[in-house]
């Protein structure tokens, strides 16, 4: 987590606009808990994660829209069982992700 925060600081100090996606709610077993974050810089770098990898692509698309001036968005994802991990880890959870611009 602190790694994502370091990147946000670094990109922002450099003058890049930055978007932050945060897991705000989970239902059933989700890969990462509320508060987990992913960040995207204007230059296209990505840090952190909001799931085990199943929804990051879609989140990046929305983050790009937000960086381009779009309003903050609340996204909902159902994670299909087939993509989920096993052995006590995520299976078929759902997550809500809030995507916003970072204001330095």
């Amino acid at each position: 987590m602190s790694d994502v925060l370091e990147r946000v600081e670094e990109w922002s100090l450099r003058g890049d606009r930055v978007a932050i996606a945060t897991v705000v709610a989970t239902r059933r077993s989700a890969p990462l808990p509320p508060g987990a974050k992913m960040a995207l810089s204007e230059s296209g770098e990505v840090a952190g994660a909001v799931s085990g990898g199943c929804v990051e692509g879609a989140v990046v698309k929305v983050a790009e829209e937000v960086l381009a001036g779009g309003a903050p968005r609340l996204l909902h994802f159902g994670i299909p069982d087939s993509d989920a991990w096993d052995v006590g880890l995520p299976c078929g959870g759902e997550i809500d992700v809030y995507v916003e611009r970072y204001e330095p």
């Binding site: 602190s2 808990p33 508060g35 006590g88």
Partner: protein
């Protein structure tokens, strides 16, 4: 500096803080942030005084639970993002077990402290994994680290009745979520008598976890440290430390 950027700075530093975001709703300014600190003060606004007050209340509930959560308030969705420092484990007694416990606690992401008034034992080089080694009596040592808060766990390993009792007396007056004490059954029964004579009832003493640790059958100092740390983590998460293979239900959800 925005409330959001203040929060990210505090989170980077490992400080305790909450950022409330107005995710949706008919009041205030959607997307706005309010930063809430443990002393109840706040920075920024959600664009509605009533929502700000509700946000401070929700944040106050979650700051010490150390949970980030979506809260509903009068048709508005508030996301409370919580940052908290690594929990502290204060170990009384600069004994060999303390060095092992520091190592295991550090590996688990905790901040271990060692307290012992005997400066010959409380030497920092004996405890390379400790956040701090404090050569002082418990009252002074605890004052030096800002007292015992709800994220400070205590392990009393001294084997010295005077030091033991001084640490436990303070511990039992505090908000510490965990007080573990090492010692044989006989040492414990003697301690119980001493604390009773000092006016600490059996009922108040029942907060003390003694013998300390989970039943791992530990044979070495490192294994004993693992058993203590396992108990501390279980207490923090509201679990009893049983084997998962013999338990039904969710693995990651609260108990």
């Amino acid at each position: 500096m925005s409330a959001q950027s203040s929060f990210l700075r505090l989170a980077r530093e490992g400080s305790r803080a909450a950022l409330v975001t107005l995710v949706s709703g008919g009041r205030g300014r959607p997307g706005a942030h309010l930063l809430v600190l443990p002393d109840g003060s706040s920075e920024g606004t959600l664009g509605d005084a009533g929502l700000d007050e509700a946000a401070r209340r929700h944040a106050g509930e979650l700051l010490w639970a150390e949970l980030s959560e979506l809260r509903e308030e009068d048709g508005c969705a508030l996301f409370v993002d919580v940052s908290a420092p690594a929990p502290r484990l204060v170990i009384f007694g600069a004994v060999d077990y303390a060095a092992s416990l520091c190592r295991v606690a550090r590996a688990a992401g905790w901040r271990p402290y060692v307290v012992d008034p005997r400066s010959r034992f409380a030497a920092p080089e004996r405890f390379p994994d400790a956040e701090r080694v404090i050569a002082a009596w418990p009252a002074e040592a605890l004052a030096q680290i800002g007292g015992i808060d709800r994220a400070t766990y205590l392990a009393v390993l001294t084997h010295d009745p005077k030091l033991d009792d001084a640490a436990l007396t303070l511990a039992l007056d505090s908000d510490a979520p965990y007080i573990g004490a090492m010692g044989s059954r006989r040492a414990q029964s003697e301690r119980r008598e001493r604390l009773l004579r000092a006016g600490i009832s059996e009922e108040r003493q029942s907060r003390i976890s003694a013998p300390i640790g989970l039943d791992l059958g530990a044979r070495t100092a490192d294994e004993t440290a693992l058993s203590i740390m396992a108990e501390v983590v279980a207490v923090r998460n509201g679990r009893d430390g049983r084997r998962l293979s013999q338990r039904e239900g969710r693995i990651h959800q609260p108990a």
